[in-house]
Each structure stands twice: as C-alpha cells, then as structure tokens.
C-alpha cells in the first residue's frame, strides 16, 4: 500500500518545510503579531500537501477540478501563507504585509482576496464542515477532485466538528481527508497547575473511528509517513479519512517547542536570531 518517497522528493519537502518555518518566525517578528506554535506544528503536513499531495495549479488557482484545502484552524494562517508563497501563489516578499492594513494576508484567511485560499476561516469548528460541503459537492457533480482539511486538537472541542464528522460519514465521503494537527497544547488550556496544560482525555483515534471514519495515526513531522498516509487514504472507499498527525507545538525551535507560551508570542530580535540559526542547522 505505501510507496517509498524518492530520496530527492523527501529532501525537497524537508527543505521547503525548513524554509517555511523560517518564514513563519520572520513574518511574526516583522509584523509584531501572529501565532507561532500552531503554524510550526502544522508546517510539514501543509508543505507535503502543497508540494506533493494535492493536484493544484498556481496558474489556475480557481480551477474547477483542483483539489481543495481548508485550514479549519484558521489562526494558523501564518503557517499556510509561507507555504503558498513558496509554492508560487504570491511573492514571498508579500509576507511582510502580514497583518498590515490593506494586506491580502489577513490574520485569519480571507478567500475573497488571496489566491489559493479555498475557504475563509478563523472561527473554529467551521472549516471542516465547509470541507464536507466541498467533498459532497464533488460527489454530487461526479467530479474527481479531493478535499483536504486541517483541524486542531483544541478546535476539536467545538461541537460542530462532530456534526461535520457525522454528515461526512453519512454521505460516505471517501474523497475527504482531514488532518488533525495533534500538537496537544492550546492557548491557555485546562489545568493551570499542569506544565503542558494538556486537555482532558481526548483519544482522537477512538472518537473518529466511532464516527465511522478511517483513521491513520502518524508522526506529523515525518514526510515519508505523511506521504504514505495520503496514499493510504486514496485507497479508502466508502468512508472519509482522518489522519491524526502527532506533532510538536513550536516544532523546529528548541525554546518554542512544547510550550503554550509560544502559542502567539512575538520573538525578540535575539530570539529571532537563535530561531533562524537553529532552523538553518537542521538543513
């Protein structure tokens, strides 16, 4: 079922992920605002989607038959923008406008102004339902495009996520793949006495299986695992796929990893320098 990634492809994806992570930190530093932890945990899956998995064209960003992607955890927009820029949807230089007035790069994605965005998101729990609508729309019109969506583990506390899970299952949406960016840390969390502020027992695998989904659990920072999961999902029939991507919040920068403190903190000049240095030594 799984196919080995060509080493070359894997190298490219790894390099793009590192470039994207650097751009996340630089952009947030430049804007003086933005999220860091969540975007950093999501980067590898996002990079794999845009540089490997999805059938898309930057020449024709609204092509009817393109694959769709919905960033349901919309506050990780600054994780998606660098990937879109690197892929060629808009100039990398434009990242400097993030959060500025008149920017196409809104704090939360606005599909009406930025090419490459398939849905406006930002209010949690909603994007996955829109992705269900897209996948259902494809089925109703006998179109072959696939729909991808990323949700967060914190976002999964929204009841709407499970309403969407129900309907996707009912309509046998095997053209829908949802990725859970399971970084296990949210903005403030549930237990102030707990260092990592973990949420209550979540057990996403059992939950998604109970809702009738095909569930794959992977290391969300491993491009071969991500690629294999996407391939496996293509062979699933009759049910939607949930890929639980176990990730590290703040992935790639030692002092940002596994802490809620970097959910939406802006790095100082010195922290930026250290972060870039750490990311560059990863290459």
């Amino acid at each position: 079922m799984s196919e080995l990634l060509l080493e070359e492809r894997k190298d490219l994806l790894t390099k793009k992920s590192i470039e994207a992570r650097k751009l996340v930190v630089q952009t947030v530093h430049h804007a003086g605002a933005g999220h860091i932890g969540g975007p950093m945990s999501a980067i590898d899956v996002l990079t794999n989607l845009y540089f490997n998995e999805m059938n898309i064209s930057t020449e024709d960003p609204n092509g009817e038959d393109r694959d769709r992607f919905v960033l349901s955890k919309g506050h990780s927009a600054i994780g998606l923008y660098p990937v879109l820029a690197l892929r060629g949807y808009f100039p990398i230089e434009e990242l400097k406008t993030f959060d500025a007035i008149n920017s196409r790069l809104q704090a939360h994605p606005d599909m009406t102004i930025l090419p490459g965005l398939d849905m406006s998101t930002g209010s949690l729990g909603q994007g996955i339902s829109a992705a269900v609508g897209m996948a259902l729309g494809a089925k109703l019109q006998n179109k072959n495009f696939r729909t991808y969506c990323m949700i967060g583990d914190g976002e999964s506390q929204e009841g709407q996520v499970w309403e969407a899970a129900d309907v996707a299952s009912k309509y046998n949406l095997d053209n829908l793949v949802v990725i859970l960016d399971n970084n296990k840390i949210q903005q403030f969390g549930w237990d102030a006495g707990n260092q990592t502020r973990e949420i209550p027992a979540f057990n996403p695998k059992a939950r998604w299986e109970a809702f009738g989904w095909y569930v794959i659990e992977i290391d969300g920072h491993h491009h071969e695992a991500i690629t294999n999961a996407f391939s496996e999902a293509r062979n699933v029939t009759g049910k939607p796929t949930m890929i639980i991507a176990n990730t590290v919040k703040g992935k790639g920068v030692s002092f940002m990893e596994n802490t809620h403190n970097w959910h939406s903190r802006v790095p100082t000049d010195e922290e930026l320098r250290q972060a870039i240095q750490e990311l560059e030594t990863e290459v």
Binding site: T112, M119, S120, S129, L136, Q141, G159
Partner: protein
C-alpha cells in the same frame, strides 16, 4: 395588477413547497438542505418527489450552514431550510464567516418567523432575525407578504448570485398579489394610496396594515400602505417620498421594534427627511406560546394596534 386583501388565504409554506420543487427540477445546481424540519417547512416535497436533490443535514444547523458554504464553492446553489430562529441565532457565526463575508451563493429560508409559530413559543419565535441579518455585509434580506410573493422572491433568489435570506411565516395569509406581480430587489410596493399617513410594512404585517388602513378610511383617515419586501437593500427613495407626501410614518412588522424594519426606516428618515413616526412591533419583550389572535393582541401588533399607531402619529404631525 394588485388586488387588495382578497378573502382567499394561502400559506407561504405551500407556495415555497411548489416553488422549490420546481427550481430543483429545472436547475441541476439547486440542492435542498434540511435541518430535519422538512415536514414543517414543507420542503419534504423535494425529498418525496426529487429525492436526489434533497440533502438531510440532521438537527445540526451550524454544520448545515457551513456545508452549504462548501457546496456553493463547488458551483452548486444550496438552499438551506429551517426555522428563522435557528438560522438567525444558532448558526449566525457560520453564516457571517462562511457565507456573507465570502459572498457565496447560498439561499437561506427561515420558516416560522415572527410571533405566530404554531403554539411553539419563545424558542421557536423569531423577533430578531431582521435585525441580525440586515447587519451582515453582502446579505440580501427579504420578507414577502403573501404566497404569490414567496414564489416571486424565490425566483429572484434563484437568479441572484449571492447570499439571500428569506423570512417566511407559518400560517395562511390573504393573497395580496396576482400572478403577474413582478418582484424587484430594493423596491417598495405601494399597495394603497393615501394622504394623511403612510404605513410602511413588511412580511405578514402588510396584510394587517391593509386591514388597518381600510378600517381607518371608513373613519375618514387617508392612509397609504407601502410594502417593503426588500428590507436589505432598502428602498430609501420610497421612504423619503412617503415622508414628503404624507408627513407621517408608521412602520409595522412581526418582529422586535429594535433593529428591524422600523429601525431601518427610522435610520433613513433621520438622515434624509425627519417626520413624525411610530413603530409597531414587539416592544422589547419575551413572548410565549398562545393562540394567534391572543398573541397579536397581547404583543400589540394586531391590525387594531397598527390603526392606533396611525392615530398616534397623526397627533404628532
């Protein structure tokens, strides 16, 4: 062309039912989304007669509206049917973020709006939906007065590319419009001429306003009735013209007096042509379940209250 208050009564639901079935048959892109109220809203006709165009979304209105948004991005025209209360209050964030802001081609039909919701009371009544929907940028807000107009506004919504909210009522109302009536977005409809006061009404209050106007006529008060099927965009020109020609305005709606048609008309008058005005609507109160006539009296929106408002505003002239 227009007939005023015939004795023939029809429900908006029956008109809706026939129209949505026809649209779903004529246009391959039209799909019906139901929040498990199809037997109340009467879109069950599509489930029965054109089942492949009927999508049951279950009792989950938030998901239903977001799914509608996703469907619209693929080129389909989803029509979501539930009660006005659930659309305007339970799913409004989804509607704002995923339908109104991206300006997607989703049609939202709120049945059981207003006060008369078939003995269901506070949770199922909708006295806030006009106020809520008309604050959303890109949103078109329509409230037809009779069964003919329901069909016409649905035909309009089908042709229109963008989000439309249609506010409907449960029970039977007098037929006001004949089949050759043409609905025009953003245009008021003068149903009765008059020189002393203009009643500007919408939805179900239009037939009650006509009733009030005819009663007042017999008392020697000349009352114009201007129906506003299009609350957003609003026919500001017609409002200013009415203020100029009669010098006093009464608004009438089966809705809270806060934020609805009365507020919209007042906003226009204050900016363009201030004249004495009285609003008829539910006056910042929570309602209850009860028989229709008793409800209209207790919550002060019956035709008697519209007539009383006309007399009140005349004293301010």
């Amino acid at each position: 062309m227009k007939t005023i208050l015939s004795t023939k009564k029809e429900t908006m639901r029956d008109a809706l039912s026939k129209t949505i079935l026809r649209l779903s048959e004529e246009d391959e892109n039209v799909y019906v989304l139901d929040g498990d109220l199809a037997t109340s809203t009467k879109v069950d006709i599509v489930a029965n007669e054109n089942p492949e165009k009927f999508l049951q979304m279950g009792i989950a209105e938030q998901n239903m509206m977001s799914v509608a948004s996703g469907l619209a991005t693929t080129g389909l025209q989803p029509w979501a049917f539930t009660f006005a209360a659930f659309l305007s209050k339970r799913a409004i964030d989804q509607i704002q973020v995923q339908i109104a802001q991206p300006n997607l081609n989703v049609k939202m039909v709120g049945g059981y709006s207003g006060l008369l919701t078939g003995l269901t009371g506070k949770t199922h009544q909708s006295l806030e939906d006009i106020a809520i929907f008309r604050t959303l940028a890109n949103m078109v807000v329509l409230a037809p007065a009779d069964s003919t107009e329901v069909e016409k506004v649905m035909e309009f919504a089908h042709q229109y590319d963008g989000p439309v909210y249609i506010r409907l009522a449960r029970d039977a109302y007098p037929v006001i419009f004949s089949d050759d009536y043409q609905f025009e977005l953003g245009k008021a409809v003068t149903l009765k001429e008059g020189s002393d006061v203009t009643i500007i009404s919408t939805g179900t209050q239009t037939s009650r306003s006509l009733e009030a106007a005819e009663k007042l006529e017999s008392e020697g008060i000349s009352v114009a009735v201007v129906h506003m099927p299009s609350i957003k965009p609003l026919d500001k020109e017609a409002i200013v013209k009415a203020a100029e020609s009669t010098g006093a305005i009464v608004t009438a709606e089966e809705h809270s007096i806060i934020g609805g048609l009365g507020s919209a008309v007042a906003e226009t008058l204050v900016e363009e042509k201030p004249v004495p005005m009285v609003r008829v609507g539910v006056r910042d109160r929570n309602a209850e379940s009860g028989p229709n006539e008793a409800m209209l009296q207790k919550y002060e929106i019956s035709s008697d209250y519209v007539a009383a408002a006309v007399k009140k505003v005349l004293k301010k002239k």
